[in-house]
């Protein structure tokens, strides 16, 4: 049988080499675009951004902002994961509750993130706005994936569980949890990326103390475009590092989820 082609990035040395070539090509294009524009305020060159980052990153102001954003992102991720998994599990087990919650989830999913942030600005203190907005954006993603995971449970095993009168907690632990583990992993991955983006966007508008978004906005007001790029780079690195940590943890978690 012919093997199907995968769109997954190639791993190993050829993959790393291709990645390095791609990154270099991107930097080259950026440099060429910056030269074509000819204005550091509109589009600073990569070396100018690197200098701005080198100056910014060791400062106390930056490290405090990084810590603040990190804590908000992790808090938002934790809340959306816990609440989304619980609601997704309930929706997966009960079609009636799933139908009852469907309109609310549809409204949340369809609401533009900026509208959520603007409303949150009215309701909450500035530090809580990014967390609220991120939870509201990531929560439906987790609910949908977990619900799908619960529904993917083997109907033959569920019938067996019904016949042998398995307790609900045994059904959840032995049948539902292993079925939804890959969906939960996918939901967590998506929610984590979404949380960073929305937290930083919320910070840009709500301007809390100690926040990457606040630093970004301050640099923009002062037309320090290279510094805006440096703050953005910090956000990207934060996202990439937590993504890598998540993938590392993911290799361990499914075993821990399985009953001993």
């Amino acid at each position: 049988m012919r093997k199907s082609r995968s769109a997954e990035p190639h791993r190993g040395v050829p993959g790393a080499a291709a990645g390095a070539v791609g990154a270099l090509a991107f930097l080259l294009l950026w440099e060429l675009a910056a030269r074509a524009v000819g204005s550091e305020i509109v589009l600073p060159s990569p070396p100018r951004v690197a200098r701005a980052a080198a100056e910014l990153f060791p400062t106390v102001r930056f490290l405090a902002a990084l810590e603040g954003t990190f804590l908000r992102g992790i808090l938002a991720f934790g809340i959306s994961l816990a609440a989304g998994a619980a609601v997704g599990l309930v929706c997966g087990l009960s079609p009636v509750l799933a139908s009852a919650l469907s309109p609310a989830l549809t409204v949340i999913r369809a609401t533009p993130v900026l509208a959520v942030i603007l409303l949150a600005l009215i309701w909450f203190p500035s530090g809580a706005v990014p967390v609220f907005a991120a939870v509201l954006m990531a929560f439906p993603v987790v609910v949908a994936d977990v619900r799908q995971g619960v529904r993917s449970a083997d109907p033959g095993l569920l019938e067996m569980a019904r016949l042998f009168r398995l307790r609900k907690r045994d059904r959840i632990r032995s049948i539902y949890v292993p079925a939804l583990a890959p969906y939960l992993a996918s939901a967590s991955h998506g929610a984590l990326g979404l949380c960073w983006k929305v937290v930083v966007a919320g910070e840009v508008l709500s301007q809390p103390a100690r926040a990457l978004g606040t630093g970004m906005q301050g640099a923009r007001i002062q037309l320090e475009t290279a510094e805006v790029f440096a703050w953005t780079l910090a956000g990207i690195l934060l996202c990439a590092l937590t993504d890598a940590a998540f993938k590392l943890a993911q290799r361990k978690v499914p075993r821990a989820l399985l009953p001993s």
């Binding site: 033959g156 095993l157 019938e159 067996m160 019904r162 016949l163 042998f164 009168r165 398995l166 307790r167 045994d170 032995s174 049948i175 292993p178 399985l258 009953p259």
Partner: protein
């Protein structure tokens, strides 16, 4: 009779599967229900187990009963070992030490002592079905339902599985309903054989098998008269 079905009717849309069907179950005996594929044997088991409600009719002594089921496929939880799969169905019934002892003893009875720690993907098809048999007998059921559980394996494995079932049944006799379309299986395992027609299933005949099971051999001619009579019924 402690367990019986009376005048059961069941249809799926316009398709009548059971129409006025009645059956008594002999306690501690194996009732082999023999019928053509798709005649409604699985529907009959599902009604007995309470998985499917009949459209009308009466179930006697069944509503309070506990059921064990050996399915056509083993239906083991992939993430659990053979031992954990057996223990899983005992969690609500027994405490931890008794549960483990019972599960280990049943796995030993089906010849899987050395494989208790293996997961289903590490077992052969025949071994998986042995775990399913051990699970069914470990569970303290009043009635054991077997839905053509010996069909998806080769002949040698099938005979081994049937012998494992007979050993378990001899050691701990259960009220068993065993549905199959294989005449030889019904004659090897049954205390009596109920022959069904095609849909809607009705009982064509009942045969009491008086030859002791320990004197039967799979495929032998010991019950050739009964076998010939059954073939005449089935083939008209």
């Amino acid at each position: 009779m402690p367990y019986s079905l009376r005048d059961i009717r069941k249809s799926y849309g316009n398709l009548s599967v059971l129409d006025g069907f009645s059956l008594d179950l002999a306690e501690g005996k194996v009732t082999a229900v023999l019928g053509p594929s798709g005649c409604g044997k699985t529907t009959l088991l599902n009604i007995l187990a309470g998985l499917v409600p009949p459209d009308s009719g009466e179930l006697q002594g069944l509503s309070e009963s506990r059921f064990s089921y050996v399915f056509q496929e083993p239906r083991l939880v992939p993430s659990l070992t053979a031992l954990e799969n057996v223990e899983l169905v005992l969690r609500a019934v027994f405490g931890s030490p008794e549960r483990r002892d019972r599960a280990l003893s049943l796995l030993a009875a089906v010849g899987l002592s050395g494989s208790a720690g293996l997961r289903p993907r590490q077992l052969s098809g025949g071994m998986r079905q042995r775990v399913s048999l051990a699970r069914a007998f470990a569970y303290p059921a009043d009635i054991l339902l077997l839905d053509e559980p010996f069909q998806s394996v080769d002949l040698r494995t099938r005979i081994g599985l049937m012998d494992a079932f007979l050993d378990l049944q001899t050691a701990d006799p259960r009220t068993v309903v065993f549905v199959t379309h294989e005449v030889k299986e019904a004659l090897y395992l049954g205390d009596r054989v109920v022959v069904l027609s095609d849909k809607p299933a009705r009982i064509l005949d009942r045969k009491e098998l008086l030859l002791p099971r320990n004197r039967r051999r799979f495929g032998s001619s010991d019950l050739s008269d009964v076998e010939a009579a059954i073939y005449r019924l089935i083939l008209g």
